[in-house]
Amino acid sequence: MSGHNNVSEKAYVELRGVNKHFGDFQALKDINISISRGRLIAALGSSGSGKTTILRMIAGLETPDSGEIVIDGKVVNDIPGSDRGVGFVFQSYALFRYMTVYDNIAFGLRVKKWDVATINQRVKELLNLINCEGLEGRYPSQLSGGQRQRVAFARALAPNPQLLLLDEPFAAIDAKVRLELRAWLRKMITQLGITSIFVTHDQDEAIEVADEIIVTNKGRVEQTGTPRELYVNPKTPFVASFIGNAHPVENYDQFQFFDRLGEGTRAIIRPEFVSVFKKGENKQFVKSAEEGVVEDVIFRGSSLELKLRLHGVTIPATRSVNDSIIEIGETVDVFIHRLIVVDGEKIIVQHNKSLKKESVVI
């Protein structure tokens, strides 16, 4: 990884006040983004949130109605995509289906009139990088999904771009291979040190792969930060409920040691905010725990997912498979560490008051 970035480090890619309409639909609303060199960024959002438009705009496949796109200190609005030093991996890979793997990777180099020997050497190098030696004579239809993605990756990297853009790079791959490819892509990009932005609607993917996440919603950027920051410190109600496994709770003040913070506020609770103890098992929070009833236990393989009934509301919790077994209908001790309180557009993380004197490390 490129390590910690200073605030003072100059942005490599910047969007300044970018707006874009498609007909009557405003796809982007005053987008301001700043991305440092060498980072791996995820643009995360649901479909129609504007994430792909942002990517296509940086690539030069769309032009903004207003605002500036800056790459490496230069405003590139009027520079065609092919001169922006950008590699693009399409969602469906868009490999040239009537060309071999070799010709696909060599295409951009031939267009740029590299000499034949250099092209040959570069293609060999990339085939080696993506572990596809021996496949140069194949056509895209003869490759597996994972191989196609890697060839698309190699094709985008061939002309040595300074910036790599990937549109939903894992969407077209089945679940098992996807996990492998995620790890592979992350390793590859970190190893090459190339600034990369990928678009995804899958929060797990963004959290696992990216150094930093840009959360988009309805054409706006909701929040930008490391996966950890977004998780621990959501700045908007959207981020609070989009990231993680969020459950809304209306009357949160009925939980012990939590106060209502104004009228019309509601709370979001996540399973990891809740500890569950069998009767008598609880030592740490024995005084401040409340009693709840187990409504459901779902085996998730690596953990157990619980649904608990507490003050008439159902809240989620998880438990390790190594802990002693909990049955449905059992009365248990429940301790809620904290809640995310949503007040209009404001977010307040409220900690359990009984912890007030202890320092809380999340």
Partner: protein, 276 residues
């Protein structure tokens, strides 16, 4: 087993039905054409098809067909490209207008041109001044042929191009390829067979066109008579041998095109197999 037997029954009924239908409506008339053409012996047949008017009519048909195919290939490619690769206002309208010639009766198509370029048109003085003859002359016949075969090529290309999407073109353009390179290396390989098929359809239709051409031709023997018009002329004059002999030329041309098409398709399939 039961199911299989039933399927076999349906299968053979359909096959026999198809073959009977083809025999009755296609093979039989074809045989009849050839038979009538040769009814008065080989010499008469040869005389009929080497008749100077027959040769001129055949030549005019070929000429009009070549023009129509050429123009419509160019137009079809541009129209299909523009409709599938760009988003713009009025796309629907253009798309509908392209289909118009199929829905308009050829006679009306002919009349449209007579009204547009004929004596009563406001364009006529201009055409007259520069000595441009359209109505009752070869240009009119070519125009009519182009008109009726207008949608054939673009209609073959549009579905293929739509299915392909624009990703590959975008990818190529991001790598710095120029439009012409993108067309040659990315788009053309994809639409090659659809294009050839469209050309074949267009050719077949252009050669057989009667209605619109009939209105515009003026029926000047040896000048503005195409093969179908010439055939009708002979037929109306009770020269059945002559009419059918001339028809046999048209049949021959059609068969050549059919063979060409089968050969092209075969090549296309072989290429594809190599890729799978």
């Amino acid at each position: 087993m039961q199911m299989n037997r039933e399927n076999a029954f349906i299968k053979w009924t359909l096959i026999v039905g198809c073959e009977l239908f083809l025999a009755l409506f296609l093979i039989l008339p074809l045989v009849f054409i050839i038979q009538t053409a040769f009814a008065q012996g080989l010499a008469t047949y040869c005389n009929s098809i080497t008749d100077q008017y027959a040769v001129k009519a055949a030549w005019l048909t070929v000429k009009a067909t070549l023009w129509a195919v050429g123009v419509n290939t160019l137009f079809g490619l541009s129209a299909a490209w523009c409709i599938t690769k760009f988003a713009f206002r009025g796309k629907k309208i253009i798309s509908t207008f392209i289909d118009l010639p199929v829905t308009v009766s050829p006679i009306i198509a002919g009349l449209i041109y007579v009204l547009t370029f004929g004596r009563q048109s406001f364009l006529f003085p201009l055409l007259d001044k520069y000595d441009i003859e359209i109505i009752f002359a070869t240009p009119g016949i070519i125009l009519a042929t182009i008109f009726v075969t207008f949608p054939f090529i673009s209609r073959e290309l549009i579905p293929v191009l739509t299915a392909q999407g624009v990703d590959e073109e975008e990818a190529a353009s991001l790598m710095g390829a120029r439009t012409w390179t993108i067309f040659r290396k990315v788009t053309l390989p994809h639409i090659k067979w659809a294009l050839l098929y469209g050309v074949v359809l267009c050719t077949a239709r252009a050669m057989g066109e009667f209605g619109a051409v009939s209105v515009l031709s003026g029926h000047l023997r040896g000048k503005t008579n195409t093969l179908p018009l010439y055939i009708e002329l002979l037929y109306q004059g009770y020269d059945f041998t002559g009419a059918f002999a001339a028809s046999s030329i048209l049949v021959l041309l059609t068969i050549i095109i059919l063979i060409l098409r089968v050969w092209l398709e075969g090549r296309g399939n072989k290429r594809m197999e190599l890729r799978h």
